[in-house]
Symmetry: C2
Subunit: 137 residues, 2 copies
DNA sequence: TCCAATTACTACTACTAGGTAGAATTTAAA
DNA sequence: TTTAAATTCTACCTAGTAGTAGTAATTGGA
């Protein structure tokens, strides 16, 4: 019951970039060191984040990464979606099938509360929220 | 963000057994057919459930499985623990480290609410609750 | 006693997530 | 123009989860 590793890395990477927008560009080496994420794995994730259009990459010497959109436009849920890790409406905790509202298991009603809360948190929290407050990660 | 397959199977198996206590014993073949779980995989899970002392097995001809404890004594969380799938107090959604109450990320306070709710549901829901109500699975 | 129905054990395969290695490509600075 | 610093691409390795295969052990009933 947790987000997968890659999603967690991605959130931390993007939050870190959002938190350092005074710097024009951040290199993969810099991010890898600061966030303690294996360099080679980080570069792989970066490529996916570029393809997902969250960040822009500048290749070559003095290159690096920066946000492509404003931090408030990127929601946690958007990030999770890239790594197939968001909370799907139709997926069920007990894996019995699809929630059709007709046939409910005994845990259904109880389960909807935390499920909706998590969806809400993910959908409404933007990078700006994460980057601007709390301890830096 | 979901329970792993084996946990889901285990919950359904135990709920089914609890729901059919009028039968003395249920065989692996019967469970496999009723719950549409691959026979060989099911027998593997059964062995773990026996070792975890949730069910008792009777070997040999006319053998099968039955609950070892009363359905109200077996909580969902106990089942999840066997398959290393419960929500750990010290594990964090963002995977930054340990929640020490000193240093909190921006999502921490929001996250505690669904986390505690889920823990509560798992810890307080017993097989009896699941088996007695809702659609049969 | 023997057989067939049953669980238990051991070992394997398939798939996926996480991570690594090395080379190709791009680009600014020297 | 050359070089070094950077991203990108392709291919692989590793560990864990899901699932399969075959056989051994147990036991009630014919
Ligand atoms: S009714 Fe229960 S098993 Fe079915 S989708 Fe809802 S929570 Fe899952
Ligand atoms: S403060 Fe945030 S990152 Fe740290 S344990 Fe709590 S939810 Fe996780």
């Amino acid at each position: 019951m947790k987000l997968n590793n890659t999603s967690q890395y991605a959130i931390r990477i993007l939050a870190y970039i959002a938190d350092h927008k005074e710097k024009k560009l951040l290199s993969a080496a810099e991010l890898s060191t600061a966030l303690v994420i294996p360099y080679k794995f980080l570069t792989k994730i970066m490529t996916e984040l570029v393809k997902a259009d969250f960040i822009k990459s500048i290749r070559g010497r003095e290159g690096g990464f920066k946000l492509q959109k404003s931090a408030s436009e990127i929601k946690v849920d958007d990030i999770l979606n890239v790594f197939n890790d968001s909370i799907k409406e139709e997926e069920c905790i007990l894996g019995i099938g699809f929630c059709n509202g007709m046939c409910k298991c005994a845990l259904h009603d109880q389960w909807m509360e935390p499920k909706l809360l998590m969806q809400k948190i993910f959908q409404e929290s933007s990078l700006e929220d994460i980057a601007g407050r709390g301890c830096k990660i």
